[in-house]
């Protein structure tokens, strides 16, 4: 039996220390080892010049194309302004009960909102959004338990308000599905 792993795929993303921390955290949160894995992704194909944004659904498609056999989940990490056609932007996207998810640091940075750079805040937001999107791949819906990482966030302030952890109910679901 092959040991499953979470693949963290950088997409034009070069902050390796951030990715290392992310892998370390995800390994603990999901109980599956997480590794950085490079994969060629063509971001120009998903760029929408009218919106000056990148279509996250198309990126996700490329990301999950021909997954490694030992991939429990594949998480794409980028620093691009992502969108889905109906919405003005998204922090990330996931396949509900699927294999892939994607998350962007573009709107997680204070600088985007005209604030001072804060690497600690960025790290925390990335961990939360990555855990949240991977939570969807394990079949979790948005959670109404205050503080749970699976609560819906439409503003970066919402992300800051919630914890990096699953609530007890969501954790039970993830545990049962990981096994």
């Amino acid at each position: 039996m092959i040991d499953k792993r979470i693949y963290v795929v950088p997409i034009e993303f070069y902050d390796l220390s951030l990715l290392d921390s992310l892998c370390f955290y995800l390994s603990n949160a999901f109980g599956i080892p997480a590794y950085i894995e490079n994969k060629p992704i063509n971001i120009n194909r998903v760029f929408d010049p009218l919106r000056n944004q990148y279509n996250s659904s198309y990126l996700l498609k490329q990301l999950i194309n021909k997954p490694p056999k030992d991939a429990a989940r594949i998480l794409g990490v980028c620093n691009l302004d992502l969108f889905i056609p109906i919405l003005t932007f998204v922090f990330g996207e996931a396949q509900l009960e699927g294999i892939g998810a994607i998350v962007s640091t573009y709107r997680l940075k204070n600088e985007f909102y005209g604030g001072q750079s804060d690497s600690h805040a960025l790290m925390e937001r990335l961990l939360k959004e990555a855990t949240h999107e991977l939570g969807h791949t394990y079949g979790l819906y948005h959670c109404h338990n205050s503080g749970c990482v699976m609560t819906s966030s439409t503003y970066v302030e919402d992300i800051d308000e919630k914890s990096v952890l699953f609530c007890r109910e969501c954790e039970e679901v993830v545990k049962s599905r990981v096994q």
Binding site: I84, P85, I86, L87, S152, T154
Partner: protein, 447 residues
Amino acid sequence: MNNNDVNILIVDDEFSVRDSLFKWFKTDGFNVDTAENAEAALQKFKEKSWDIVLLDIKMPGMDGIEFNRHIQSVDQNIIVIIITAYASVDTAVQAIKDGAFEYVSKPIDPDNLTHMIRNAIEKRLLAKENIQLRQKIEDLTSADDIVGTSPQLRKVFKMVASVAKTDSTVMIRGESGTGKELIARAIHSNSTRRYAPIISLNCGAFTETLLESELFGHEKGAFTGADRLRIGKLERANNGTIFFDEIGNISMKMQMDLLRVLDTKHFSRLGSEKSIEVDFRVISATNRDLESAVNEGHFREDLYFRLNVVTIDIPPLRDRKEDIPLLARYFFNKYTQSMTKDIKDISPEAMEMLLNYGWPGNVRELRNVIERAIVVCENKKISPADLSFPFRAGSKQQYGDSLEELEKNHIERILNRTGWHISQASETLKIDRTTLYNKIKKYNLSK
């Protein structure tokens, strides 16, 4: 309402829009489905009911504006959110005029979408609650306790059904206990005013001053003891029905005041000059011979004609004996259930007694007799021993409930007992001889 109780249908010809909205709502735990055009959406409507429809305007075939009209014609409580890539004031105005809940242009801010859906669910929930409450009101106001299949009662039912559809003033006539108020409530609950209240006023239960205050209300300080503002029954009956029970008992002054209100639909609270406009339907009831009262000058003729547009006569129970077993069993079932007593039936002997009794107190008396029998019954069937008739000894002597009738009968009884000895009778009655002579004259009593 949990998210998984909410059904959302996305109707858009663009796959990417359908797909992204589907995923967005799915992660929120909603029941979501998609349709690529109005025709496919119509098919989805045949399969199940939808709470919220997100609808694109520009679609091949039937467009969103037209489809919205179709949805609204089927169910006005479905929340329709119009989404468009080409927002224009004209289409927005048209969509909202046609009943759409929101009109938004693509792309939508995620926070706006979240709030919009939350508001839509709230509106849908309120609409559902409203429907449920209306149903509850209809259940509560159904003509309970009006039971019977006799031709006389069927005629009453027919009258109730036809008069309920109109806004006509109704006078219900019948002996005490025949169910005049129930008929009034049945008319109200089948009329277009049924979601507004029916306010009852027993005109015989108040002195003139109190009746005025009850009817018109009063301002704080209007008279001694008026320590706060009081909303009168007329005001409370606005948009609904006011039911005047024992209308024949009101004073001449009140008759004049009432006539003015009925004519103008305006009145003022006691202690105020401010005129208040009210809209109500009037149903009145009496067990008195109002025509005689009019002839004798005790009741205003103009008010009589104003109140007596449609008359419903409720027959006394003794004239519709075939309804007695039905009514008896109806009250039997009602009270055995509410008292959770294990009594199976009314014995044939007891039923025979019920059929042979004169029922001066009509349905109310029958109800009380059955209720009491259930309380005292210790066997599986109600027997004659469980039945107690308050007027049995003189069941042929059927008194009305009014004070005048009681007084008349009491004086007559004392006169007969004393052999029409006026002095002895006046002494027993504790009134002077002149008063007794006046009463004899008033009640037209003779040896």
